[in-house]
Symmetry: C2
Subunit: 238 residues, 2 copies
DNA sequence: AACGCTACCAAGCAAGCGCTTGGTTTTCAA
DNA sequence: TTGAAAACCAAGCGCTTGCTTGGTAGCGTT
């Protein structure tokens, strides 16, 4: 279950990165990431039928919601009939569960790489925030928002399957937070939950294509708000 | 549309309040609030059939979700048959829309009273946070969470109906925030959205009946985190 | 007493749902 | 070339859904 996956971030991903440590990864590094996950058996080949179905499901569940998406929709998206789906998945809920698992694995790996590429502790946290925002708004991890929105659609037993993978993701956050806010702070889990909640909720109001507030700007604003700034930078009215 | 409702908070609600300005209201003040809203025609009489249906729908939508709740469920909850519902509402979506409107009106009025009862600007903001948390976790405003969770289930035209009422609610937040953080801060709308997002997300992890972290404690933690504290209270490692 | 109105019941319709079944095509290794 | 497994189609089953229809009981007004 808790397979010990040693991800090869040693020299593969930090080659093409220049000075912008908190920047988004290139398309090449993304493909490299997918190849790595594919080789380690963590995700399904997107070229296979099963992979096509999972990608289509992720997109449809994100757009229309789980219950509003029919198995006929998913099947039609890849050009097969609805009945044929059940040669790949045992049920509709199974599709949702598998989608969530692969999305979680991909998002975790992506964040791990982003943290690795950043140098300072502050930039690592910035990378996390930016990573999360990009995922939430569909710019990097298709289907990421269903992890929040469709959680209730999953039965308790299947929730447990995804929850195991989610632990690792949240651990990455905790480490990044503690490196900036200090390991002795006892409210780190609380801060992490509030921060992730604030980020998740941007899904309802922030539009990344807007010119007024770009995603990197939003990320920096969030960083400034959650991390106590040194008084030299902070304009105080006292 | 934007009816100017002059709520009589002059002397009705601040009589029974002692020193705990950020505390929850008593059952009496809640009933008074309902009576006021009922008299001003903002909500339906909970004793009427329509009111019973709206309350049942709010509870069921919150528990099971909109699509998972059938009109037969709602009808059975008040002891009538499913077909009879459509003498009170035009459609199932109409039920959701009306529920959201009344929930929004009630939550707005409740927050207005809480703000009024608090004295200092800091305590007014604390009251807002506590109000929101109590609403989110079903302790004060049944059906409040569907405003977030089931927003997508509403068509755009009906969303507009609820959105108009929501504006007022968010205005209350902005005023409370600006009174504490300063009116000159230009990121107030952003802070409000991040704060509301963080609070909304507590729905997924915080359990108000837990002994380890009570709701008032959580509210205070959130307040401390979002409002820059004076350096005397803030333990700095520098 | 007759009326009209509201609220409700009993029954069911049309549509859509997840999923099954039996049979056909495709794939690919031996 | 052959055989078997995997992948898929065509059809539809059983069920649930939101909603409709025709009729009726109750109630207050005139």
């Amino acid at each position: 279950m808790t397979a010990k996956v040693k991800f090869k971030t040693n020299g593969s991903f930090n080659t093409k990165v220049g000075k912008s440590n908190t920047g988004a990864e290139t398309a090449e590094t993304k493909n490299l990431l997918i190849a790595e996950l594919l080789a380690s058996g963590q995700i399904t080949d997107p070229a296979s039928r099963r992979g096509q179905l999972l990608n289509a499901a992720a997109r449809l569940f994100e757009q229309k919601g789980y219950t509003a998406t029919t198995v006929r929709d998913i099947a039609a998206a890849v050009g097969i009939l609805s009945g044929s789906i059940f040669h790949h998945f045992s049920s509709k809920e199974d599709i949702l569960c598998c989608t969530m698992q692969e999305v979680t694995r991909f998002a975790s790996a992506r964040m791990r790489v982003a943290i690795f590429q950043a140098s300072s502790a502050e930039d690592k946290l910035r990378a996390c925030i930016r990573c999360e925002l990009e995922a939430i708004h569909g710019l990097a991890v298709p289907g990421f928002s269903i992890l929040v929105n469709e959680w209730r659609s999953l039965s308790a037993s299947r929730q447990a399957l995804v929850l195991g993978l989610r632990d690792h993701y949240e651990q990455l956050w905790l480490e990044s937070l503690s490196a900036v806010l200090g390991t002795q702070r006892r409210d780190l889990p609380l801060v992490r939950r509030l921060l992730l909640g604030a980020l998740a909720h941007t899904h309802n109001w922030f539009k990344p294509e807007g010119k007024e507030l770009t995603l990197p700007q939003l990320a920096e604003q969030v960083f400034v708000l959650f991390v106590p700034q040194p008084p030299s930078r902070q304009p105080t009215s006292l």
